[in-house]
Point group: C2
Chain length 341, copies 2
DNA sequence: CTGTTAGCGCATTCAG
DNA sequence: CTGAATGCGCTAACAG
């Protein structure tokens, strides 16, 4: 475990000179630089991250605050986590995972004073997320996956729900569908102001009316059972829809099951689109679902990049990124059957 | 950002005394301890993790080496990651996620010299995992999720595949099934010596013959398409099975689809058990599958605990934990229909 | 029971 | 262009 001192001795130069060839903070003559590089190589030297962190006051560690909720963790979250870890590595940082109880002021303040992380990434951001003002007050750099309602001057990366829902509805209306129901997440989550649920709902209402769709929304708990109940409720009415847009991964199996129980075939009788899922989840359904897949990897990349930029240059103009989900047609959608409607 | 020196000054004691009340390494008189605690409280002091790490040569950070393969990451891995993060927190550690390229000697050596982590947890351990001797050589503490073949003196936490498969087969044979096929993961993975695939196969062969089962194994790529092909192959034969054991989450949808395409109902015509999945995945299928769920959370807990113990006491007797999957009957299994067999 | 002191390994200011 | 010296905040001998 060679240290900089060892390198300096071996190269016959001062310790600081070694430090400078590492940081590139000042110019070094080519001969001495070569000498030092060789010494480093010979000794198999690598700077100690902890010592460097202590001296420079930068750990190059960022934290990902995992969703406190049980609900949140699905395949697309997993993709996000992996993506964030990779992005962090690419930017020469480490990613630590922080679970549970990281939302109170005390927790966040503690995190800051521990000094182990340079900044944090928030998941599951709500419209009025209390963590945002907290972090601002603490002066702990952060970036958001999702965004609060007025997102003035905040660095975030989020799904463009408006365009996502637009493209889904257009796909369906282009295929002749006119009665399209929306299976959103639960009422509680909506009332709690969870961004995706609120924004997707707004987008559905907006584009639905613009495209002349007969809309109807049903809120479902994120369980197969919830999806089953939701689906039953939808088809109880006198004017059943010819298509379903579902933004509720966990409820999806129940929805499909209820459809089958009613003798409704997908896509012959009813088209189904899964919005804001992972493609892996959509492909796991039978039939494979047409879906608007969350761009988790890219969002992760943006979130990490944003954070690192904020850390390195606190005065930087903050980047706000909106990415729509990519619509992938699979086997769960078809043109509406004229005869039956 | 108060430091220990501030606390010492405010309490009118020496810096080291403050340090000792923190570490509890030596006895302090009650009055001075109280004085110091009060000072810490007043100044809202919290020890700086980086400085502490530098001085003590322990960062209290452990790394989770994510599966290099694309394959590995499913819902149960996610549960494992979450569990590990929680366990780490409970043991006053942080968990960093390391992705990609952490298997070569250079990578691991670099990780060690960086000095940021005290130890690592390996996932996706193979029977002859090259990382194990590497880590031993480097002297970097580690613990395993899974285990190499002779696992002498290695700390690991793994699924008890033998008992898991036994319970699955017994469930089926108790219900009258005699012809039971096994859908394992791909041949490539088996040949690569991936622990779960090898051990599950051995267990299936062993218990199958012991229980008088007509066995047949088919290897499937971890995709719906692979599962479809596997299922077709299985039912091509003259003596189709009455039950399927599937240890291949990603192939499962394809298997079910192929069954349906052949007009075979689950569980009336064929019983299906998903082995070593997450319950979330089993519940996402239609019908919800009887499954042997991987005890991801508990394994994570053990793996982290093992690692921390190893770090704190290099000479400790290493713990080896085997936990069977918990069998949860759902709607995909039934007694064999006597008439049709 | 408590204080003094020497590092941990590196970044960086101040000299030269 | 390079060296010497100081300190980041804390731990852990060493000395009372």
């Amino acid at each position: 475990m060679a240290t900089m001192k060892d390198v300096a001795d071996k190269a016959g130069v001062s310790l600081s000179t070694v430090s400078y060839v590492l940081s590139g903070t000042r110019s070094i003559s080519e001969p001495t630089r070569a000498l030092i590089l060789k010494a480093m190589d010979d000794l198999d030297f690598h700077p100690n991250a902890v010592a460097r962190a202590l001296a420079s006051k930068r750990t190059r560690v960022v934290a990902l605050l995992l969703s406190p909720q049980e609900r949140g963790m699905g395949l697309s979250e997993l993709e996000f986590v992996k993506g964030a870890s990779e992005a962090a590595k690419a930017l020469d940082h480490h990613l630590v995972l922080l679970t549970e109880g990281m939302d109170s002021e005390a927790d966040l303040a503690y995190l800051k004073r521990q000094g182990l992380v340079d900044g944090v990434i928030l998941m599951e951001v709500h419209l009025h997320d209390p963590r945002v003002p907290l972090l601002q007050k603490l002066g702990l750099p952060f970036s958001l996956l999702g965004r609060p309602d007025p997102a003035l001057n905040l660095p975030f990366a989020d799904i463009d729900f408006d365009r996502t829902i637009q493209s889904v509805l257009e796909l369906l209306t282009d295929s002749g569908h006119r009665r399209i129901s929306f299976v959103n997440q639960s009422r509680e989550v909506l009332d709690a102001g969870y961004g995706p649920v609120v924004r997707a709902q707004e987008a559905y209402d907006h584009w639905g009316s613009l495209l002349g769709v007969e809309t109807s929304t049903i809120y479902s708990h994120p369980t197969p059972r919830g999806g089953w109940a939701a689906c039953q409720a939808i088809f109880e009415g006198s004017a059943p829809p010819s298509a379903l847009v579902v933004m509720n991964d966990r409820a999806l199996p129940g929805v499909l099951q209820a459809l089958a129980a009613r003798g409704l075939r997908v896509p012959e009788d009813v088209s189904v689109v899964s919005a804001v899922t992972s493609s892996a989840a959509a492909e796991m359904m039978v039939p494979a679902l047409t879906s608007a897949d969350a761009p988790s990897q890219e969002l992760a990349w943006r979130a990490v990049t944003n954070l690192v930029k904020t850390i390195e240059n606190p005065g930087v103009v903050l980047e706000q990124t909106l990415i729509p989900c990519k619509l992938t047609p699979r086997s769960s959608t078809s043109r509406v059957d004229r005869k039956s409607h």
